[in-house]
Symmetry: C2
Subunit: 452 residues, 2 copies
């Protein structure tokens, strides 16, 4: 049996590896249009800042490594057509510009996502970049070396924008973030986004909120300024467009493979598309939100790996299931960890829940133990039955631990009462005697009890 | 109503505070035989090492702080008798040596635990210490100042012994640990205890295993050497007896309050003893192991706080429940975090489970992200249904996070399959793309699937 994987970054690389382990007898081919496969796109902001000192480090596996496992990797090959009836694809070799038709028995779509780039005046000027893949990284590195920018404008205050703001700070590039929404971090509740807002200002990042990109000014083909929708002109020798991504679904759509309500490829829990024998995984396809049951699009590296594993196993004849996501996400900007899992209070309301919530300060060690670091924790539960709905943590120290505990609590469909009685690990170097999570769950639980 | 609390360190202090919040109208009195209440016994090793630079820092609240909340604290008062029929106690004022009889409506026993000290020759010599409470700390500080010890022997390789080995290393005191068992950390599976063993040796701690304390030699009333059961003589100017603790239950026992099979006070999930109106919390009472359902004695500070909260609320007329424990514990020795939750593989077998397990290396960041730290993770599940039974983590980095995720998974009665599909927070500074927990759960799950 021949399994063809389109795309080899995260989901595709994982799917191929898993398919190989599931059955050593199949022929497995990865087609990848870039020059690299199996790299960590999430590591790119840290290559730009220099925190990761060698860009080769974010490349996890080479085509030769796959070859050793009996997986053929064809880089700089773009799949330009899928014929789902004949079960074959048309592949263009980007080096020779020749097309080849290749038959498949099972197909795995791992075509990823790409940045949204508005078709505005000046968008093609030199110095206007996106940061999504390793090809973008090369452009960044070239530009940084060639012009040593001093003034950057980042369009979009999402996680890529905020990670890059830190990277640019490290490089002594003065940075302004332009964001169309009136606040940063729209997936977070306002009171949790505020300390991040303040922290950016403390680190000399300028924020221009409620304003969008109108056009770009240039000189000699190179960008010189951003003009916003409100008419402000911001001088810039580096502009990053980071207003979001959209799934790469054109190939699938033209082939008649069904898309879901989010615009990404629809899949079942086996990661199979509505076209039998064709699977999808990673940023090109949907997930299910395990709290609301609604389709959700979560283009994140870890989800891509989890989905790739399932798609690969099933393409090889297995029967694995991916049950969906809780919307967990985390990133770092300057000294702050910014993390979320489950539903925000606002989304909980929009989803028909009647949420209660608590925001409290927490710390990662006993109060008397030196070097402790603090964070703000928001915990959200359903008033009806006390079931936990989500959490947000902003700060330092064990912020990531807090989110993972709640993410696991969501997995177990736990209530405030359950979590209030969690048996978490305590010793002064690792936690206050009662974890902030236990304290927060206890406060919510006593609110519920009083309501009864 | 008058609520009397016997003991005011962790469980007692918490119970009193909770009882006060639950009902502001009761009279609440704490009797405490030491000169301090409300301190963190878990912080004491770090006061000795100097990591905590001021011993007052481990005292959380003063009697005056309780007084402000309307809780009367009588320090240096020892309760010497409980009359459960007349509902009164006999209290000795240790300063005046006078006894008083005081009536109660509700009684909370928070009498804690004390170190096991064998009645051997030389045990009362100066320089022979235990470390359990703040009175012990004062003795330690006096001794350290007076004689500046150069050679210590710690009897017992439990967590207090291993924490103190680190403290002594900080103080340049050469240390030998004598342990009767043939290995350290008997609650951990052997392969997980081994790296801790090796780490102690690397830090110049000598280990003498399979040998016990026979007697102590002295000169002029001061200890000079330890003689082991095998006849070895170890020179020592400081000896710490840390072979374990036992619950302080004599007062309860004489009063006819029932003890459980572990030897600690039996309580129901409301933390009420078998004598109605009398509650118990903390190191003097039992818990239930939530996996096996068996009584278990877990004398730990966080459990004391959780139990105290429930005992206090119920003494004030509430109806809170403490559902039990999973056996979670953590401590630090030198650079290693040593943590466990749930059942070890050995205990799982003894409890009638048919366990499967995986031991794997994990790390706390993406492989290319600088400063990452590693640990060894053991995950244990039931072969029958894949339900998680426990985990052990030894190492650095996010070892504590790993244990808390598993502790929460145990709370949700999750299986390997569930955990393999956890939506944990990933970004390169915080985790590999797939958490070591997801990888470990996946390996166990595939073992189970192959068995089907």
């Amino acid at each position: 049996m021949r399994i063809i994987v389109i795309g080899g970054v995260a989901a595709g690389a994982k799917a191929a590896a898993k398919a190989r382990r599931a059955d050593p007898n199949n022929e497995i081919i990865i087609y990848q249009d870039e020059a690299e496969v199996s790299y960590s796109a999430c590591g790119l902001p840290y290559v730009i800042s220099g925190v990761i000192d060698n860009e080769r480090k974010v490349v996890i596996r080479q085509p030769e490594d796959f070859a050793k496992d009996g997986i053929q990797v064809l880089i700089r090959h773009r799949v330009i057509e899928i014929d789902t009836i004949k079960q074959q694809i048309n592949v263009k070799n980007l080096q020779t510009n020749t097309d080849t038709v290749v038959a498949y028995d099972r197909l795995i779509l791992a075509t990823g996502a790409r940045p949204i780039v508005p078709a505005i005046e000046g968008i093609t000027l030199e110095g206007v970049l996106t940061l999504r893949n390793i090809t973008d990284l090369a452009r960044f590195k070239t530009l940084l070396t060639a012009i040593q920018p001093i003034q950057a404008v980042i369009i979009g205050a999402g996680y890529i924008g905020l990670e890059l703001a830190e990277s640019f700070h490290e490089l002594n590039i003065k940075t302004t973030i332009v964001e169309k929404a009136v606040r940063i971090l729209p997936k977070f509740d306002p009171e949790m986004a505020q300390p991040v807002h303040d922290h950016l200002l403390e680190n000399q990042v300028e924020l221009m909120l409620g304003d969008g990109l109108a056009k770009l000014h240039g000189d000699n083909g190179r960008v010189t300024a951003v003009e916003t929708e409100s008419g402000k002109i911001l001088a810039a020798d580096l502009v990053v467009v980071a207003i979001g991504v959209r799934p790469n679904v054109e190939l699938a759509k033209i082939a008649g493979i069904e898309l879901g309500p989010t615009g990404a490829i629809a899949v079942d829990s086996r990661m199979e598309t509505r076209t039998p024998g064709i699977f999808a995984a990673g940023d090109c396809c949907e997930s299910v939100n395990r709290i609301t049951g609604a389709p959700i699009w979560m283009p994140l590296g870890d989800i891509a790996n989890l989905q790739g594993r399932v798609a690969g196993e099933n393409a090889a004849g297995g029967n694995a299931h991916f049950p969906g996501v809780f919307g967990t996400a985390i990133f770092k900007t300057f000294k702050l960890t910014v993390a979320i899992t489950g539903l925000s209070e606002q989304v909980a309301q929009e989803s028909g829940f009647d949420p209660i919530s608590i925001v409290m300060a927490g710390s990662d060690r006993a109060r008397y133990y030196p070097g402790k670091q603090g964070f703000s924790l928001k915990l959200i539960a359903s008033r009806k039955d006390g079931r936990l709905l989500g959490a947000q943590v902003i700060g330092q120290g064990s912020a990531d631990k807090m989110i993972d505990i709640i993410a696991t609590a969501l997995l177990g469909k736990l209530t405030c009462y359950d979590l209030e009685n969690a048996d978490l690990a305590y010793s002064p170097p690792f936690s206050p005697v009662l974890s902030p999570i236990i304290v927060a769950a206890g406060i919510l639980n006593s609110q519920l009890t009083q309501l009864v």
